[in-house]
C-alpha cells in the first residue's frame, strides 16, 4: 500500500512527478550535451593532428605554444 501511495502522491502524481521528471530531464540533458561535445572535440583534434603529421605541409599555420608565441 505504501508504494502505491508513494507513486500516487496524494492524487497530485502528474504534477509532482512531472516536476521531478522535468528537472531530471533538464539536468541530465544539460550535463550530457557538453560531455558529448567535449569528447567529439577531442576526437576531431586528434584526427586533425594525425592528418597534419601524415601530410606535412610548409607551415602556413604555425602551431603555437601556450603563450601565443
Amino acid at each position: 500500500m505504501r508504494i502505491a501511495e508513494f507513486f500516487a502522491m496524494g492524487g497530485y502524481a502528474p504534477y509532482v512527478w512531472g516536476s521531478y521528471g522535468l528537472a531530471l530531464t533538464v539536468l541530465v540533458y544539460n550535463a550530457w550535451i557538453p560531455v558529448r561535445r567535449h569528447r567529439r572535440l577531442r576526437l576531431s583534434i586528434q584526427a586533425e593532428t594525425r592528418t597534419a603529421s601524415r601530410h606535412p605541409v610548409a607551415p602556413t599555420h604555425r602551431i603555437s605554444n601556450e603563450n601565443g608565441a
Binding site: Y15, S19, L27, N30, A31, P34, V35, L41, R42, Q46
Partner: protein
C-alpha cells in the same frame, strides 16, 4: 595582482585543473542530489495544507535560487573579464548563460505545475514567478546578443555591459513586481513564497540546493573546457592534451 590572476587564469592551467576536479564534482552532485531526493520524496512529512503536492518545492525553490545565483555569477565573471581583459572570465560568463536560462525555465515550469493544482490555474502572476519570467528574458537577451555577434571579443564585452545593466535592474524589477503584485492581489496568497518550514522539510531543501550548486559547478566546467578546446584548438598544448 594582474600577474597572479593571469597565471591562474591561464587557459591550459584551468583546463587541466577543471579536468581533475570534474569527477569529484559529479560525485558530489550525485551524493547530494541522492540524499536530497530521498529526503524530499520519502522522509519529509506531508504538509497539512497542501498534502503531497508541496514536494514540488524541493525542485522549484532550488531552481529559482540557482537562476538568481547564476545570473550573479555571469555578471561577476563578465565584469572581471571586462575590467581585466581575462579570456577565461569571458568564457565562464558565456557558458553559464544557457545553464542559468535552464534553471530559470525549470523554476517557471515547476512553479506553474505547483500552481496548476493548488489554484487551478496554469500561470499565476505572483511576484516571484513574474520576476523570474523577466529574469528569463534577461538571460535570453544575453544569449541572443552573444549569438548575434561574430567576434568573440566584442560579444563578450557587449555581453558584459548588458549583464551589468541587468544586475542593477534585478532588485528594481523584483521590488516593482512585488509592489505590483500586492496591488493586484487576487487569490494568490503566495504559499509559493513562504511555506512554513520545519527542520525535516528544511534539510532536504538545503541538500537539494547544494546538489544543484555542485551540478552547476560541474556543468560550467565541462562547458568551459569545450569552449577552450574550440577556441585554442591549434595551439600545441591543446594538441598534446587531446592526444
Amino acid at each position: 595582482m594582474i600577474a597572479f590572476l593571469s597565471r591562474w587564469a591561464s587557459l591550459p592551467t584551468f583546463y587541466r585543473l577543471a579536468g581533475r576536479l570534474l569527477p569529484w564534482l559529479w560525485g558530489l552532485t550525485a551524493v547530494l542530489m541522492g540524499a536530497g531526493l530521498i529526503g524530499a520524496l520519502v522522509l519529509a512529512p506531508v504538509d497539512y495544507q497542501q498534502g503531497q503536492a508541496y514536494r514540488i518545492l524541493f525542485v522549484h525553490v532550488p531552481s529559482a535560487w540557482m537562476a538568481m545565483f547564476v545570473y550573479m555569477f555571469m555578471a561577476g565573471a563578465s565584469a572581471v573579464g571586462f575590467i581585466w581583459h581575462l579570456k577565461l572570465a569571458e568564457i565562464l560568463a558565456r557558458v553559464s548563460a544557457p545553464l542559468g536560462a535552464a534553471f530559470t525555465g525549470l523554476a517557471l515550469a515547476t512553479g506553474s505545475l505547483w500552481g496548476a493544482r493548488m489554484w487551478n490555474t496554469w500561470w499565476v502572476w505572483d511576484a516571484r514567478l513574474t520576476s523570474v519570467l523577466l529574469l528569463f528574458f534577461l538571460y535570453l537577451g544575453f544569449m541572443a546578443l552573444q549569438a548575434a555577434i561574430e567576434d568573440r571579443r566584442r560579444a563578450a564585452r557587449a555581453g558584459a555591459v548588458l549583464a551589468l545593466v541587468g544586475v542593477v535592474n534585478i532588485p528594481i524589477i523584483h521590488y516593482s513586481v512585488e509592489w505590483w503584485n500586492t496591488l493586484h492581489q487576487g487569490a494568490t496568497v503566495s504559499k509559493l513564497s513562504n511555506p512554513s518550514m520545519t527542520w525535516d522539510m528544511l534539510w532536504p531543501l538545503l541538500t537539494m540546493a547544494l546538489g544543484f550548486m555542485a551540478y552547476f559547478a560541474a556543468a560550467v566546467l565541462v562547458r568551459a573546457r569545450c569552449e577552450i578546446l574550440e577556441r585554442e584548438r591549434h595551439r600545441r598544448w591543446v594538441v598534446e592534451e587531446a592526444a
